[in-house]
Amino acid sequence: MIVRDVICPFCACLCDDLDVHVEEGRVTGVDNACDLGSHKFMTDHRMEGPVRRTASGWQDIPLEEAIRETAELLQAAERPLLYGWSGTCGEAQSAGVHLAERVGGIIDATTSVCHGPSILAIQEVGHPGCTLGQVKNRADVVVYWGCNPQHAHPRHLSRYTTYTDGFFVKNAFKERRLILADIRGTDSTNVADEVVRLQPGGDYAVLGALRAIVRGKGDVVPPEVAGVSREQLFRIADLCKKARYGAFFFGMGLTQTAGKYKNIRNAIELVDELNRHTKWTLTPMRGHFNVYGFNEVCTWMTGYPYAVDFSRGMAFYNPGETTAVDILARKECDMCLVVASDPAAHFPAEAVEHLASIPVVQLDPFPNLTTAFARIQIPVAVSGIDAEGTAYRMDGVPLRLRKVLDRGYPDDVTILSEIARRIGEGGGA
């Protein structure tokens, strides 16, 4: 059987043109996906069923029991953290927010360690954005800053920018100019018309210089800014101003390096400035396929995109205080429910150390580094492969993930609702 127009649940490009071949409950082939996407469909190392850690190793336990124990742990905890969410569907994220409210916990997503700074900048100055089809159909200048799309979002160039023709851009490869700004050469810099090689930590200064030039204050720019020549800066500013439509994409090379949210703010204000001359938009290259979905769901439910603390019965948001890493590093958190992510692989050492000292329950189809700290792991269906649901693309376009096969695993929504039901029955927090 071939399932057509399947949505890829790997990166936030959410390519929706995959043809998936399914035979006897297994994926046997995937057309149109990149290697990352196909690999996710083809991987088969799932855990069999729920397990609990004991002194003598992992013990298989019935699902019932895993759910009951998780509910008890959540209820007993003073300051539970519900973390992850970028690898599951919106319906599960919504169930998670309700659960966090119910137990007076903190809910946070992987956002806080990737594009959290982008959100802080947007909260200061706003966000001139668009859907990716605007870029595909109109853009004649595209900037990628601090990201390597060929590597992290392999079909971004072929679906939305360099290699795809659009309505007003009949021959994209020729007509679209590509500017790449990075501290090192990558496979993406090879295809660029203009490569800006800046010194590590130099983003803020280079963006500032470009803003000055676009504003007509270029005379303040010195001969070299963070490794980039004045001449190149003027050339780029000119290219940007003369664009019919410009699109600025940026990644973690901008959000997680020196300057952090100030970098993003500078990038946004550069784009605002360019809008006084021509049309420009900006889009963060969100990583996990539904990390943006979490931000959307959490926002309409609580008012805030991530890092929400319900301990006072209302939604309280203060990144730096209510973000997962900080709660853990302060050793405040006394229980953690991890859903669809791998904090042990991405958190700083002191946060991981604390994670190792508290009860952790993990909902994840696959074993990962966090499994090593988990007291219980419940394997669930993979959203977009054996479970349906909603996901939001990096530009905010919501899509319905397909279920292409049934492997008999419960999905995240079912497990989370069941946990919530038990807590409700127990009289709860």
């Binding site: 057509r4 127009d5 949505i7 929706d16 043109d17 919106g90 919504s94 309700h98 409210e101 959100i119 947007i122 909260q123 200061e124 100055v125 706003g126 966000h127 001139p128 954005g129 668009c130 859907t131 990716l132 089809g133 605007q134 595909k136 159909n137 109109r138 679906r159 939305y160 659009g166 309505f167 007003f168 019919r244 439509y245 605002d272 809008n275 021509t278 049309k279 938009t281 959307e296 769901v297 926002t299 309409w300 439910m301 609580t302 008012g303 805030y304 995109p305 319900f310 006072r312 019965g313 209302m314 939604a315 948001y317 909603t390 939001y392 905010g396 376009v397 919501p398 899509l399 319905r400």
Partner: protein
């Protein structure tokens, strides 16, 4: 479900010609009936004002740009927080509350149905997800067609039927309710950072004018026999001198439908400006209201502006950018491929600003100068002119000349010569208010047929009982009591069930979404049109098969089918 009997209700029910009568209302299985058996739950209304549930025919509460407003403004979220309590979830937000915040606050004010003013089809799934989390109202979505490429191509070819067919396919696919045009043609121009300045200007490449888009879609709308008319946000919003464009737009709609208007103009306050710049802006509410009075085929809503902090969010991208350049506050924009655009910026409407004072006066002038209340509905374009929690104050301003005079004292010097409000004596009565907040909306939206906006047998039992005795209240003097009463019902009944008492929410609720599906002949089914499908898959970044919103997104679904005349 057992029955419900509301006793001693002082009922105003304009659609049934009831102008104030003490009576009982019987409810069974969610509907109003002639009588119920003994044993029904009884609510004693104690002679208090009882109206059909409120209907907002233009508000922004759900979807991509609303959520972006929340996302970019933690300061607004902090400004309105409530704790989880009983069946109520915690809420956040002042001008752009969370979905539960909107739902609870509307419910406490007796509102039971609301129309989201702008949904981009490509992002419809998002709007429906938020509708599902808006449990205490029935919801509908205006669907944006202002910059729709296939529609503009049909308009260029003067092909009304094809335009209608594209609209039919899209509305059914995204579970939308009505055709919305926001700054028609301007959204496509904004794709290049430009705009249209007049309804006769042409949109580059597509070679159509806003006027042509409006004219063709008004006709297409009637061919499709949609419940609502075309819902228009005119070009040139907020531009001094724009009133002529507004009146010009009214002239594009002939009188085509005996049951309702043929063109609905929204938030007209923002479109009734004279002058040539912010320096000499003045009210042109009078010529605009006159134009409405002469054209029974037009209905408008006020788009009243109220002083204080709020957020502007519209599909009028270029206008929002102009506001940004004016205030230099934070600015967000979101262009949607092949369809439309949106912009968001926070604002503060101040009594010290002459411009803001003129805006405030214009909304009231429109409501007082349009003679027929069925043609001018009460709304703020929530939250653009102010959050909907200000509606009770607007009601009081319309009912009390004395209240207006008091407020006029506080306006910025220099305002008086630019407005006509001080000369207007009219004070609206309870019946006018009932028309402007529910009955008129039901008629304008075409949802009377499904039992909305009235209290006769066969109506859906959406009922609001306000703590106010009409016989003991002189609104002209006791306007503070009027405000208090409209802020919080004694009871709000939804689908036959009491859902709020004195502002406390009693049940979790379940959303119902009303949408339309015009049935078209086979040859007009765009789902089977090869050219439409080819261009779809070529220019959109989602496949045509992934575009329609699945049924499961609607918790309760009410599809209004129609037989298109194509």
């Amino acid at each position: 479900m057992t029955g419900l009997l509301i006793k001693n209700a002082y009922v105003i029910d304009p659609l049934n010609g009831i102008r104030g009568e003490v009576m009982d209302i019987a409810v069974r299985d969610g509907w109003i009936v002639e009588s119920v058996q003994d044993g029904a739950e009884v609510i004693d209304a104690k002679g208090c004002l009882t109206l059909p549930g409120g209907i907002d025919s233009h508000t922004h509460i759900c979807g991509t740009k609303v959520n972006f407003g929340r996302y970019m403004m933690p300061e607004d979220m902090r400004a309105g927080r409530t704790q989880r309590r009983g069946v109520m979830h915690s809420t956040s937000g002042y001008s752009v509350p969370t979905t539960y915040g909107n739902s609870y606050r509307y419910c406490a004010m007796g509102y039971t149905s609301v129309l989201e003013g702008a949904m981009a089809p490509l992002e419809a799934r998002h709007t429906h997800e938020e509708f599902a989390a808006t449990p205490l109202q029935d919801t509908m979505a205006n669907t944006l067609f202002d910059g729709n490429w296939p529609v503009m191509e049909a308009v260029r070819d003067h092909d009304v039927k094809r335009a209608a067919a594209i609209v039919a396919w899209t509305l059914a696919a995204v579970k939308g309710f009505a055709i919305k045009l926001t700054n028609p043609g301007g959204s496509e121009c904004w794709g290049w950072g430009k705009n249209v300045k007049c309804i006769r200007e042409t949109v580059p490449y597509f070679e159509v004018s806003p006027a042509e888009i409006i004219e063709i879609l008004v006709r297409a709308n009637e061919l499709l026999r949609l419940p609502h008319s075309v819902h228009l946000h005119c070009n040139n919003l907020g531009v001094p001198g724009n009133y002529q464009c507004t009146i010009g737009s009214m002239d594009l709609a002939p009188d085509l439908n005996p049951d309702r208007q043929s063109l609905y103009l929204t938030h007209v306050q923002f479109h009734a400006y004279g002058g040539t710049s912010w320096k000499d802006i003045c009210s042109k509410a009078e010529p605009v209201a006159c134009a409405v009075n002469q054209r029974p085929q037009i209905t408008i809503d006020m788009g009243q502006m109220m002083f204080g902090k709020t957020t502007t969010m519209t599909a009028d991208g270029p206008m929002e950018f102009n506001l940004y350049r004016l205030h230099h506050n934070k600015w967000s924009n979101h262009d949607v491929e092949l369809e439309t655009t949106a912009g968001i910026i926070p604002v503060y409407y101040s009594r010290t600003s002459v411009v803001n004072c003129v805006m405030w006066a214009i909304g009231l002038e429109l409501a007082l100068m349009v003679r027929n209340p069925w043609q001018c509905l009460l709304a703020t374009d929530n939250p653009n002119g102010g959050p909907f929690i200000k509606y009770p104050e607007i009601i009081a301003l319309l009912m009390s000349r004395r209240y207006r005079e008091e407020e006029l004292q506080n306006l910025a010097p220099g305002t008086m010569s630019r407005i006509t409000l001080p000369a207007l004596d009219r004070e609206l009565d309870w019946h006018d208010i009932a028309v402007m907040t529910r009955a008129g909306q039901a008629r304008a939206l075409g949802i009377r047929s499904i039992g909305k906006g009235h209290l006769g047998p066969g109506a859906e039992a959406d009922i609001a009982i306000y703590p106010l005795r009409v016989d003991e209240t002189d609104p002209s003097r006791q306007y503070r009591d009027v405000i208090r009463a409209f802020q919080k019902t004694s009871w709000t009944v939804k689908r036959g069930r009491p859902v709020a008492r004195d502002g406390e929410i009693l049940v979790p609720g379940t959303n119902k979404t009303i949408w339309v599906k015009p049935k078209v002949p086979e040859e007009y089914d765009m789902g089977k049109d090869p050219e439409f499908a080819r261009n779809f898959d070529r220019y959109y970044t989602v496949r045509m098969s992934n575009y329609p919103v699945q049924d499961l997104y609607l918790q309760r679904s009410l599809c209004m089918e129609s037989e298109a005349q194509l």
